[in-house]
Amino acid sequence: MKLSEEEIRKITFEAISELGDKATPEAVKELVRRRVESMGGDYKLEKNDVSSGRVILTSFGLNHPGIVAGVTKALGDANCDIQDLSQKILGDFFTMIMVVDISASQKDLKEIQEEMNKIAELLKIKIYLQHEDVFRYMHRI
């Protein structure tokens, strides 16, 4: 649902008059949610501004057992959905690329990145997590 400017202004004034000095981000959020719902709209606060919710995970390193297991387990634990996976081995060198949907995860991209950094250190590989958009912008017109 899209609010008109008039409606947004109305809600803003209501928030000011009702909360006044007591306004906190939570209180404002709660009030806006109630107002929007009472207007018959569905209130969804974006968890983050990731447009598609998909990220690309790239990992490299010397091949050894347990890499895929280590990475996928952590993703599974964080409730991330692996939508595509491609893996290659060149000599001793291992490369894996995944398309991961993190929109259902309780963690945001930054937390998952931190998690992956720990795993990368443990498995002695490199892991990069980047939002899908950067690849879309660079390689698709």
């Binding site: 491609s86 690329i97 930054k110 997590l129 980047q130 958009d133 690849f135 390689h139």
Partner: protein, 453 residues
Amino acid sequence: MPYEFGEILETIRMTEIEHFDIRTVTMGISLRDCHDRNIEVTKQKIYDKILRYGKQHVKLAKEVESQYGISIANKRVSVTPISIPFDACNAEEFIEIAKILDKAAEEIGIDYIAGYSALVQKGMTNGERELIKSIPFALSQTKRVCSSVNIGSTKAGINMDAVNMMGEVIKLTAEKTKDNDSIGCAKLVVFANAVEDNPFVAGAFHGVSEPEIVLNVGISGPGVVLEAIREAGKVDLQQLSEVIKKTIFKITRAGELIGRKVAEKNGIPFGIVDISLAPTPAEGDSIADILKAMGVEDVGAPGTTAALAMLNDSVKKAGLMASSSVGGMSGAFIPVSEDMGMIRAVQAGNLSLEKLEAMTAVCSVGLDMIAIPGDTAVTTIAGIIADEAAIGIINDKTTAVRIIPAYGKKIGDFVDYGGLLGKAPIMEVRTISSAGFVSRGGRIPAPMRSLTN
């Protein structure tokens, strides 16, 4: 898989190995509503406004960095040319304003704030004269403030009185900051045809036709272009131009994405992406190395100007295709101190000031970060500025002079600033005099090109 294996690895290689980064996200803030009769109130208004818009700038930019895995080297702020809203101030008051800009920049956690500027291509108001007089003091008493003065344009010609003044200002700035290798001059740019939406400090300012607030982005990435050229191997120049364009296309797209996201997070409009190739002192992040990879033995060899012209043109063409918001300088920068390859060429005696001047006719800006002997005459510096401005106004392009007459230093010495400003060998300047010409003063009339209507 929605993307090819190779495509993903290419992006990773650019960001992780070839130094592709966003050089700067610059928030342009209008200060036109900050004037007050009382200078203390003016200062408070400036401080409050910069903090209001800029407080989250660094934090939000860092969030975008980690989200997309592309680093943003600098987060900066540009403001309305200070001489415009505060035209009623005198030199002392302008210095006070510089100090408050410095303080605001420190508070929001940025390294440079630009816009201590005046636009005097046709003539000067009293306030502009005062501001120009105050520049050496402002730059020596602050750390983060950058200044620029526009002394010529295709439409107005060259204001030679202003050129002469800037010669004096540069010399005095060098002296006032002599304890730090005359670093004040590294924060002072003299322009012809200055652009209003340039995100690159030190020459950035928030032009008078710009909105209340805007976010501009400057990309970088000489390392990426260098690798692409090396990989292309022995191909002819038409094919080489294609290689450069393909690479620039990709980094412009990424640059625009990052700029738009930072703007979105700040809740402010996105302005332009400046597709300039800006080198850094890091190894491999060099325009000089690109020119060498294109085939000249060293920068300065005959053919260098042609190679640079082709590089600059290819950058622009690819950038225009990649984004509808291309602005700023958009081309290749050729600073000396910030580019290891340029430094080496100067040291080897292959690159002279005159050859650099020729190169500025086809690069995106001008004589940039060039150190010259401290005893260079004021009129000689004015002559250098006039030459550079002439190239700009006749060719309808931006040119700039950021020159450092390093106090007490002579040929063979170095100025060393560390960080992104790098280090520069003192270059030779011809000692034959320009005095008779520049001291005539007045204005060089606008060229034929100005009469396009």
